[in-house]
């Protein structure tokens, strides 16, 4: 039987990284996610799996270390929280443009500015719409438990290498700090240098051997035609991801007339709101996007005929709600309920907000 341990979400990320055969972690301390690097330093994976763990001088250095490692075909990652992610956005743009796989975790805190160290979902736009310069996207996974924090590191690397794209885990201080049961997976071996050459030798900087031309990993293309072609290639990849990699979970949606859409920590509060609504005879359901890009547009559209209204519940001023509105194209009323600054709504508040809009 698999070992079960009691861990914080942030600790889950660290263990998930080691157990999925991650080659390197590069990070810089910032609340509320410092436990990721602290746990890694305590676990000393360089003595067991050979994983490199390094405290960088800044988030800018961290993401560029990830760039260097990713170019070599290594499974590399970083984690940070909101202000740190802002600093990483330039690097993310380079990684996306260079088609490099990596995992970047954002344990979101309240912004803008230095903001607060309390949980928030205010970085949805930054994560889902790109954040850095240019037309690019990252796959965005939204874990809602310590177990998913643990599992999604490995899932993130699988997707990152499948599509050669940065994968972001967008979570928040509540999931990061919360202790829960985590079921551990068996230790996966890191790839050997030979395996990396055979899998990724066509693009990775594994050393130019006589049997292949040099690999130069770059995002530069000064010729307009060439650069447009590069952009089309990226867009085609995003379309493929949109078609194949949408992940979501539903609760009580079969007969739902009203739908809550929520991800991450708030989705758990919404689960309780759905229970409370059902107890009152209100046909409320929950759709929890697990991937924020690609967004579960199709599932929301499928439900339109049965719905009288949708409520997007977020720890933000209303960001994901835009994507829901794009999905429903005005066919169903869409409202927003959210709290800011680290304030967490209760299930009752969510239910009251839903009733206020739809059940007069």
């Amino acid at each position: 039987m698999a070992e079960k341990v009691l861990k914080k979400g942030n600790e889950g990320i660290a263990l998930g990284a080691i157990h999925c055969g991650c080659d390197g972690y590069f990070g810089y301390p910032i609340t509320p996610q410092s436990e990721v690097m602290e746990t890694l330093m305590e676990e000393k994976p360089w003595e067991t799996t050979g994983m490199v763990v390094l405290q960088a001088e800044s988030e800018i250095a961290s993401i560029n270390m990830v760039h260097g490692g990713a170019c070599c075909g290594k499974k590399v990652m970083t984690s940070s929280s909101s202000p740190g992610l802002s600093l990483m956005c330039e690097g993310l743009s380079y990684l996306a443009a260079s088609e490099l796989p990596c995992v970047v975790v954002n344990v979101v805190r309240g912004g803008p500015g230095l903001g607060t160290i309390q949980p928030s979902q205010g970085d949805y736009y930054q994560a889902v719409k790109g954040g850095g310069h240019g037309d690019y996207k990252t796959i965005v996974l939204a874990p809602f438990s310590a177990q998913e924090m643990y599992d999604f590191v490995g899932l993130g690397f699988d997707l990152a290498f499948k599509y050669r794209i940065p994968v972001m885990m967008l979570t928040d201080g509540m999931i990061g700090q919360m202790m829960e049961k985590v079921e551990l997976r068996p230790q996966q071996a890191r790839l050997s240098d030979q395996e990396i050459v055979s899998r990724y030798g066509s693009w990775a900087t594994t050393g130019k051997t006589s049997d292949r031309p040099k690999n130069a990993v770059t995002s530069l293309a000064l010729e307009s035609k060439v650069h447009e072609a590069l952009n089309f290639k990226l867009q085609a990849k995003y379309a493929e991801i949109t078609e194949h990699e949408v992940r979501f979970e539903t609760l009580a949606c079969e007969d739902a007339e009203y739908l809550l859409v929520a991800y991450g920590s708030v989705a758990r509060i919404c689960e309780s709101a759905v229970e409370a609504a059902r107890a009152q005879g209100i046909k409320l359901g929950l759709l929890r996007p697990i991937t924020l890009f690609p967004f579960p547009n199709v599932e929301i559209q499928r439900m339109i005929p049965q719905l009288k209204g949708i409520l997007s519940v977020e720890l933000s001023a209303g960001q994901m709600v835009d994507d829901i509105r794009l999905a429903v194209e005005g066919k169903v009323p869409v409202h927003f309920y959210g709290r800011l600054g680290g304030m967490i709504p209760s299930p009752q508040e969510v239910l009251e907000a839903c009733k206020a809009h739809y059940i007069k």
Partner: protein, 255 residues
């Protein structure tokens, strides 16, 4: 008899051959630019050490961004100033590789100051090649951190003034203070003798990098005729007369 150039290019007439680690691509550098010479020296060192399959270069943002077109090894292209962070990760993840960054003065001594200081301070076992021509070449001749006082650039049209622009940054002297560096030297390539010394320095730096000794840092005081608005010959004379007194050549550290 009228001879064609094809009649002259014969194996028996060759006195000099392009190194095989240098590609056949025509360089985009301006006449008299030091980059081409330094690229050639790097290619020779890699060839002579037999490490073409083990060397990974990181090209900067600036004129040398296209270094990957000329030296036939695997390359990574870094964001402006961040090459030492990439190099750090490569060397730690692939310790058997020879890893070098190739950076200009804007890249290394301005926007990338934090990355170079910390990589050197950690004693990363990498080679840093620092091209100091005291100007931003690719963007059209703006003031660099290493621009000399009084020097005219497009953003110091009346000459660099200390009270307005601060002082030219002797970053190599700062780097030499860091415990993590094992070899810090300042060289040039304006004539054959200087180029030979630079090649020797590069060779030592590459050899150091697989001996766990720390960071090797090779500055090459370079000319930028286009940026300085001088002919190649005038640029070399100007460099000797103005750059060398402020940036004196020689080893700053060797241990």
């Amino acid at each position: 008899m009228i001879m064609d150039v094809k009649d002259i290019i014969k194996p028996e007439n060759l006195v000099y051959k392009k190194n095989k680690v240098l590609t056949n691509n025509v360089m985009h550098y301006c006449p008299g630019c030091s980059h081409g010479t330094v690229h050639k020296l790097i290619a020779e060192v890699i060839d002579e050490m037999g490490i073409q399959d083990k060397t990974i270069g990181i090209s900067p943002v600036g004129c040398a961004v296209f270094a990957y077109n000329y030296v036939d090894i695997d390359w990574q292209q870094a964001a402006h100033g961040r090459a030492p962070a990439l190099a750090t990760a490569i060397k730690r993840l692939c310790p058997d590789k020879y890893v070098f960054t190739y950076q200009g003065d804007g890249d290394l001594a301005s926007i990338g100051t934090a990355e170079i200081m910390h990589a050197c301070n950690r004693g990363e076992n990498i080679v840093v090649i620092f091209i100091n021509n005291a100007i931003y070449g690719m963007t059209g001749g703006q003031m660099a951190p290493t621009t000399l006082l009084g020097m005219v650039t497009s953003t110091t049209p009346y000459g660099r003034q200390a009270d307005l622009n601060g002082y030219p940054l002797k970053i190599t002297e700062l780097i030499a203070q860091l415990e993590g560096t094992c070899y810090v030297t300042r060289q040039s390539v304006q004539n054959a003798a200087a180029a030979r010394k630079t090649k020797k320095a590069l060779r030592k730096a590459f050899e150091n990098s697989n001996q766990s000794k720390g960071t090797s840092f090779v500055e090459v005081v370079s000319s930028c005729g286009s940026g300085w608005k001088l002919s190649p010959v005038q640029a070399n004379i100007w460099m000797e007369e103005n750059m060398f007194p402020y940036y004196p050549l020689g080893d700053l550290k060797d241990r």
